[in-house]
């Protein structure tokens, strides 16, 4: 009788463990707010000295040596000229006399914290860069390339005007597709892929602040707050999706296209994780 009782308890333990692993990872059970708090708790445990608000500064929130170098770099921010160029581009009317300001809420000023967002009519996640190009096309202009150059400069200027605004990504409850997009982003973040069998989480959660050759991967919390970034390795400004593509390739995968649905969902998930933090883009990174 005792054996049967013990066996029943064992099976119960296994089943509850399986239920626990499924909880929060299906459309029926996913809870973005619980995910956000769990991610913060992960880093509180991992780097007890770091303030949550400081995660907008990436690796510089948790590595003193890198922070020292970065502080010096920020004395003459390498993205400064790009912000100026972005402002000029933003304010230059299209051939039809319209401008970017006409396409965005509040004339495009101080709105970065609301991107990406779920567009119910189109049934997809919209990013800021996507809407910059849509604005151009609507006004008879050619779309810009996604990764660098003018699109990154315009995005940088728009981020600059939004600095210190609190990120506020919403997942509308009246459209299950929004939650599904969030879940897809979460799944992408945790899925191992490529010849190196690495997930985003492997490097940016378990591996954050642990050397990969000479590099220290940044914590995932706050990842999207400071884009676009002037990356020393690039020697220029680049968008978040340019970085996604590079990271994806670093796992020895064939990367997806910038602004593909999968990357936009990933941005949706990651930016939701940064809710409550502030916009501090554009940033400077190694």
């Amino acid at each position: 009788m005792k054996i049967i009782k013990n066996l029943a308890v064992s099976v119960g333990l296994i089943m509850s463990a399986q239920l626990a692993t499924a909880a929060g990872n299906t459309l029926e059970t996913v809870d973005p707010e619980a995910d956000r708090i769990a991610l913060q708790n992960f880093y509180k445990k991992r780097f007890p000295e770091a303030e949550i608000a400081d995660y907008v500064n990436g690796i510089y929130a948790v590595d003193a040596g890198s922070r020292e170098q970065w502080n010096e770099l920020e004395e003459f921010p390498p993205y400064e000229f790009d912000v100026e160029a972005g402002e000029t581009l933003f304010n230059t009317p299209f051939a039809n006399g319209q401008s970017y300001a006409d396409c965005f809420e509040n004339g495009g000023i101080g709105i970065r914290q609301n991107y990406p967002y779920w567009n119910k009519e189109q049934g997809t996640v919209k990013t800021l860069e996507m809407e910059i190009n849509e604005c151009r096309e609507k006004n008879g202009e050619k779309p810009l390339k996604w990764g660098k150059g003018p699109i990154a400069q315009i995005s940088a200027y728009m981020a600059w005007t939004s600095r210190d605004n609190t990120i506020d990504i919403k997942i509308p409850e009246d459209d299950k597709r929004a939650l599904a997009a969030y879940l897809e982003g979460k799944k992408f973040f945790y899925t191992k892929r490529g010849q190196l069998n690495l997930s985003c989480a492997n490097c940016h959660m378990q591996g954050s602040n642990i050397r990969i050759r000479a590099d220290l991967p940044s914590p995932a919390l706050g990842h999207t707050t400071h884009f676009p970034v002037f990356r020393s390795k690039w020697g220029e400004l680049g968008t978040l999706h340019r970085r996604y593509k590079g990271c994806h390739q670093d796992s020895r995968s064939k990367p997806l296209e910038m602004q593909s649905e999968a990357y936009r969902n990933l941005e949706y998930f990651q930016t939701y994780m940064s809710n409550g933090l502030v916009v501090n883009g554009p940033g400077a990174r190694k």
Binding site: N6, S10, A20, R252, S253, L256, A262
Partner: protein, 139 residues
């Protein structure tokens, strides 16, 4: 408590340890000895060759090389369709095609076999991820 733990282990054993032990044995032997090695697992003998090693070991003719290159291309397209194409695979296929065009059939088959292996494992990775991705989430 000890009995409870022991029973839990017994119940878990068939679904975890035993189910994976062949893969572990295969991978360890493949890693240590490379291909064309024989190892024993659960009293039976197995080869460390991947199915692609076998496919590349047939006679090096134009027809066989062409067939393997086509298989590699098809498998890689399958991996790409689920978003799990690996970075170097397309390059390997191109090299295999170049070797084929040069009449270097064995080289073409070796390269195509490697590409097909990449694609096959990429698909496996996708299948595993579909039901296990959440295991990467720290608890």
């Amino acid at each position: 408590m000890r009995k409870l733990l022991a029973l839990t282990a017994v119940v878990l054993l068939p679904t975890t340890a035993l189910a994976e032990s062949f893969d572990q044995a295969f991978n360890m032997n493949r890693g240590m000895y490379g291909k064309d090695h024989t190892f024993t697992w659960n009293g039976k003998q197995y080869s460390t060759n991947h199915q692609e090693d076998v496919e590349a070991s047939v006679e090096a003719t134009q027809a066989n090389a062409t067939a393997l290159v086509e298989k590699a291309k098809a498998k890689n397209a399958e991996a790409g369709a689920v978003g799990f194409e690996w970075k170097l695979t397309k390059g390997l296929i191109k090299e295999a095609e170049a070797a084929l065009a040069e009449g270097e059939y064995q080289k073409a088959m070796n390269l195509a076999a490697q590409a097909k292996y990449h694609a096959r494992i990429g698909i496996q990775q996708h299948e595993y991820a579909e039901s296990n991705w959440h295991l990467s989430i720290p608890q």
